[in-house]
Subunit: 376 residues, 4 copies
């Protein structure tokens, strides 16, 4: 590969925007070419516009880049987006209509019928929905989304079970890290020594997104999984890493093809053998997307969130449930696997499928077309 | 009232032991007469034996009391116990056999068939089980227990619903404060910025105790509630106050006597009207044992745990559940309502029922018999 | 006493504003008559305008009060102010010019030559400066301020030493609670598992205010204490309670009148015997403003901040200093003694000195004049 | 290099022992050959004996190693030690007398006259003291120590200033992370939402060690720096990373060789140009041992502790001091630069000086002599 895809970032100064920058440093396929943020930041060098809050240094090259207005003019053909839903609702279609591949972490269009909501290990086939988008026909541009940070861990843990045994009912209680609320986000006076048993719209998102992700692409749309799901969402005093207590009822419409009761070993095997992207060499895909922690008191945010460079989900404490069938604990890194890494992995999947067009120019003046061609 | 019941405390230097001392300061009926702890502490003034860790001053009188060995000789006839289960297993029967009313927070005998597990607002009638205890006939002594800290909040929130509508299934995820593990308890390196998704034996205790508490005294034993219950227990970085995310399925063996679907208002009314101890004037009983917080993000440990002087349970976020029928959040102060206050309230109930004998002598040399007689 | 002084609050919805409301509930002399906040809040019932964040209930009466615009019209003659310095700079003179006693926690005018910066136990005589204010002559109104939250604990610990032995040099490092930054204040992502070694302008305030407070009223102005002072200010993950590590060099211009080296006992005695308000019966004044904690690891915010209902300062760890003479630790409750309680105590002092005029009307319609007269 | 030095670890299951294992994984010169811990652990596989608490995986090879008794028999000739002072006092001489190079993080012998207390960037020449140790002559074994976790950051920040301008007085207040107390260490009930203004013996260690480290090797012993130093030590709710607020008075016995006042730029230059190990290629030595953070609110533990892979110290907030001359903030990673990394860097220095003898055998059965020879 001689060149890299030039990437634009909408919402570059926010918490997820900073993670994009961190994770794209030295990325083998992608290179940051353009940064956009609110009017307040526009025109300033990134180092001045953003309060960098990660524990690795702000890359020098990015520090000096000037923040652009959030308009399609001058933007590259691939744009990662993580802006508030209200802003995304207006902004993302403008970029898609202008011919951009908008790969978004925002919630605005996740549940739209013709917008794919994708986790590459789960439902890569849903990407076909982009062909249903008018912008795709008009300008080539399209919109692809990844789920909410709390949904991703859950669905990665559920999918291997669902595809082998079916799932009828899902009960989940979250203990979510503060970084999920962005910056400044949760005031310290609200969360120190405390729990907030409420995150606006989070339960609704988790419930709806889970069923769409586990649903089936049929014709021009996705039929959601016919399961019942309920979520309790809580905020806790953790920096990064969402814990989820999950109970499930197996069976359901798919049935259990084993002809015998599902055992603990069956579920452990389903997780261990879940390697849907094996052989695809997506740079950010963890070798094992769902890791099982055998210790009785794991997973824990501080100790396990960085497994697979933050892209693996850790499950643990698998045991029978007194109400449904099985219960277990899930952990995922909410700003890597649950946000910035999710967008990047979606972009890698799109690149590997030939769905990313070369941009008009590379950030450093070399022709991006050539670079991208070299890659594809 | 001229005198007070003299009270002994087993495990007086521990976290719950300290709460007993705090809550009994200026108690209208009870007075600390005797403190016992491990051999290491025995013989020392309490102020030296214990590292006082509460934010109110250690009462001067207690500070100077000398810690006794944990033997029935010299102990008063009423003993509050909060020691490790392994120790309680041997120690509590010794005191009961010696004629003491052992009112315990320890888990050792909670599930024993002839030991009452009691929350006064829930199942005061279960106290009749003390008559099944051999020590009761031999020496007059007996053993009464209160539930685990995580069980109490749950059951107080469930009882008003259960008695009106029946409950078939119970799902609960806890977010428990570190004080529930005693002192030194949870190492800070384990919990700062972290969640521990495991508390040894806690889920088993919650599940079993809940059904016994909601069960029916039939003949010589309690028939547990015929419901299914499952618990997920997590430790979070909170000092005091357990949050619980709860879902329930109504109906069950008792049936819904309304003849129409149970509404949100029905449940709110059940909680609001739940005043089972009205008129009994137990000093530690909160006027309203279950308070509903109407704000969308409540209850919270820091803001709500001290309602009813730490003896009221706060519920909130009542809403339909996608898997069972209703879901809500419960908060209770784990070392007051969930431990020391629970023991004290049980003792108050026993006193009001005439089940507490006068002790042989009062701490200050006045005849305890007279004192107690004066009271009863 | 038949009535109470009607009190207005500027900045009523903020963190300190809420503390005023909490501390004035059942105050024997003062009654909240008027609440003002930003335009956004004006016209709404207080319960709707403010997100109540304290762990005692919002008083019902206050909950229903309608928030007024922050203009002198309709305000009572006594106004407590805790608004941002930039706002205070314009707003407080308007109220003083309109005849109000403005008793302020804001920093805008603390260092103005004709504005008293007062802690009643330290420098009540500085109140004479109000007579230097033009508004005092014109309308009767005036402005009195209390110090920064981090200054108050320091100066209360220093004063008993300074007045007996003199102080030449002061070194202080603070570990300040997040509530000092107001609400929303410090983002949780900044402080969880972290220290922020910087609080804007805090070191400058501490250094200047300390010397003015310990200074001498001479003629028409205060001559600051001729000592050298340096402050290092840090923010830590504590909800309430500022810890300060202090070293001092004795002597200086006042000299040591003992004729022998100052001993540890001398300093302990200075603290213990410091009761400058004895006999004045100010309702919020703690019996002992400076309490010494003898345990080696105290004071601690969680355990000691509520001494004297949050109005006492706790000192500990008195020991020789290898660079200056003595070193010790100070703790004070930053939103009670360090803010809202400081304003209230200043108001009590002014009332006891006859410097509070009756307001034109009481909140409940009774003539405030009568009420106040009855009191004075 | 064909082989590596075989390393033994005393105290292998503790918090610092785990850091040794983490940092030695893939170390180019050293290889863990032997692990020792208390009798309780001895004979067990390491994975079973230790509760691994770091966020990188326990290396497979180490997991399977069997923990040895803490006796010199069978130990390699190089031993890293991090055990409690009381244990080290007896154990370390036994290993030195048996011919081992004991490179220790324990405090037992740091201040012994013939024991070098060394930070390679500061006082490598002090290593000559090992020739004063009787064991060195008898068996070749010796003892080298590194300082306390709180001392190391301070002295690295002071040294560049001291060697250019001299330092007369040092004032330091620490805000120390809980990991400095080992595991289980600080109970969560003591530190959540709290500060503990006391760490036993810490202030004495900091004061004495600082002067020895900055002292001069003269003849057979070290003459400590003739400066005055005072330390205030506090524990805060941070996982890793000690913050220190420092004030200094320049000059002193060395004098200021500039002939003009020292400026802020002079000090910044002293830090920036401090590269005493340049050209020595010690694997764990950071390129720049003292990094200056220019942002006004840095360094911060969460954001800066991992600079230089945890081996660089970060300074910030350099500004004039009102009592002494200059004040600034220091941050260092207490379990890497302040403990395990300090020991390893000392070992690397000893290896580069030819002071590490080949051990009798390598862990994997290859002759360690050959390996070590190959290296030297």
């Amino acid at each position: 590969m001689k060149g890299k895809y030039p990437i634009g970032i909408l919402g570059a100064t926010g918490a997820v925007g900073q993670r994009y920058i961190q994770l794209l440093e030295n990325h083998p396929w992608f290179e940051i070419a353009w940064l956009a943020a609110s009017d307040r930041s526009s025109g300033k060098p990134y180092a001045e516009a953003a309060k960098w809050r990660l524990d690795t240094p702000l890359p020098e090259r990015v520090a000096r880049m000037v923040v652009s207005p959030a308009e399609p003019e001058g933007a590259p053909k691939i744009v990662f987006s993580s802006v508030d839903a209200a802003i995304a609702r207006e902004m993302e279609p403008k970029f898609a209509n202008a011919g951009c591949a908008v790969i978004s972490n925002s919630s605005a269009y996740r549940m739209a019928a013709n917008v794919p909501l994708v986790i590459p290990e789960i439902n890569a086939d849903h990407l076909h929905l982009i062909e249903e988008q008018p912008s795709r026909r008009d300008s080539g541009g399209y919109l692809v989304t990844n789920p909410n940070c709390s949904t991703i861990g859950l669905v990665l843990a559920l999918k291997p079970i669902e595809e082998r045994f079916g799932i009828e009912q899902i009960f989940v209680t979250t203990l979510q890290a503060v970084s999920g609320a962005g910056y400044p986000g949760v005031p310290s006076m609200d969360i120190l020594g405390n729990v907030i048993p409420y995150i606006a719209s989070e339960e609704e998102k988790m419930e709806a997104e889970t069923l769409k992700l586990l649903g089936k692409l049929e014709g021009h749309s996705v039929t959601p999984l016919a399961a019942r799901v309920t979520a309790h969402c809580n905020r806790v005093a953790v920096e990064d890493g969402h814990i989820e207590s999950v109970s499930i009822k197996l069976g359901g419409k798919l049935g259990n093809k084993l002809g015998r009761p599902v055992t603990r070993e069956d579920i452990l095997a389903a997780w261990a053998e879940f390697r849907p992207l094996a052989g695809q060499d997506l740079p950010s895909a963890p070798a094992q997307p769902v890791e099982f922690a055998a210790q009785p008191d794991r997973p824990q945010p501080r100790l396990d969130r960085n497994r697979g460079k933050g892209m693996a989900v850790t499950v643990g404490r698998l045991r029978p449930c007194g109400v449904l069938d099985w219960k277990f604990t899930v952990l995922s890194h909410n700003t890597i696997r649950g946000a910035a890494g999710a967008t990047i992995l979606n972009a890698e999947l799109l690149a590997s499928l030939g769905k990313l067009e070369p941009g008009p120019s590379r950030w450093d003046g070399e022709p991006a077309a050539a670079a991208a061609t070299a890659h594809v």
